[in-house]
Amino acid sequence: MKRIKFEYKITLAYLLVGSFWIIFSDKILSLFVEDTSITQAQTFKGWFYVTVTALLFYFFIKKHLTKLREAEKILANHKRMLETTVREKTHDLEFANKMLNATNQLVNSRNKELKTSLENLRKTQQQLIQAEKMASLGVLTAGVAHEINNPLNYIMGAYVGLQRNYETDSFAENKEQVAFFLDALKTGIERSTSIVQGLNKFNHNSDSFDEECNLHEIIDNCLRILQYQLRPEIKLNKSFYKKDILIKGNTGGLHQVFTNVLINAIQAISAQGSISITTRKSRGKALVEIADTGLGINPEHIKRITEPFFTTKNPGQGTGLGLSIAYTIIKEHKAEMDFQSELGKGTTVTISLPLK
């Protein structure tokens, strides 16, 4: 239902009160006054007055109220706009917040990915180091098999010989022969034992750099394992310091260093040649010099030879990790490895390790 505006109400009320007054005052007046012409004139005057003032009231109040209403309208409009703005701003803020959360999640997930990649990288690095170790050992296993099969051949020979003597119950008559078989048996066992012990040193997995390392023993171990690679055309000259050289270090690591350097020396010699190994002590350092008369290293390559994966060897002959890992192990020993090389003449690797 439409509400009746205030100015109409008040004007209507005024008109009603005025009308009632005129009607009642006429009735009351007519009780006392006889002359109706006067009262009639008065009545008309009253009607006129009430009507005119009612109209004036109406216009005056209407004008006043119109202003008020407009102000109200503007205020309402402002309020609405404010609400809209607030709603919009809230919305924007929520959106920004959502974006921030999403970004946060992204950063978190990226962080996680990075962490995983780093872990993978570390694992791969370890696998590579292990792979290089296995590759070095792979080069070695054929040699190890040969070195063990020979003493096993002694043992087999001794067994067959002794069995025959046993079957014919002829130990007493063949004393000399039996003694020889027993000697072959013992030599066979000793040789295989020493090879297996040497191999165990290679596989010695420990992080300690505080182990007592006998350099001559380590070099001899490496040479024994590399025995089969040392072709008869390669002459080996050993010139060791008169006493044992003991240093503090990592046994397995040092085995890897010398094996890698020696494999390189052997592979550098294509036909005839020699490898000279010299050890000495000088100014608190143990020096090991491994000199070959092989191909030599190209001067352009010499700075890169300790880089991971740098190799000039044919595929399958080297991973390019040997010297890189040897160099790392040398650094871990606070030691140094130096290369002198001339193309066509050979290479000398000098390793200097701090004496304990």
């Binding site: 054929a142 099969n149 030599t187």
Partner: protein, 119 residues
Amino acid sequence: MSPRMKIIYVDDESMNVQLFQLIFKARYEVVTGSSGAEALDLLEKHPDTQVVISDMKMPGMNGLEFIARAKQKYSDKKYYLLTGFEIGPEIQAAIESGLILNCFQKPFNLKEIEDCINK
């Protein structure tokens, strides 16, 4: 019964040579040497040799180099390797080309060798 079969055995490790001699002399006549060059001399001296067994890794000539040279002059003999190595491509090729009849591996298997050379 026919006279005993004559075998030349070559190995640079004297322990292997002596053991081979002692084990095989029961049924064969065994002549031994310690290098390819020495074995070529033995072949010259013992033309009645039927079987030649050689080690692979020896100073100077290796087993296959020695056999290749020996076979040119004495092609009527049976040649074998006895080695501590696995049978690699080089040895495999020698078997396929007929340069050697077989490759025995160390530690030796008496029955395998006897069965093979008696064939």
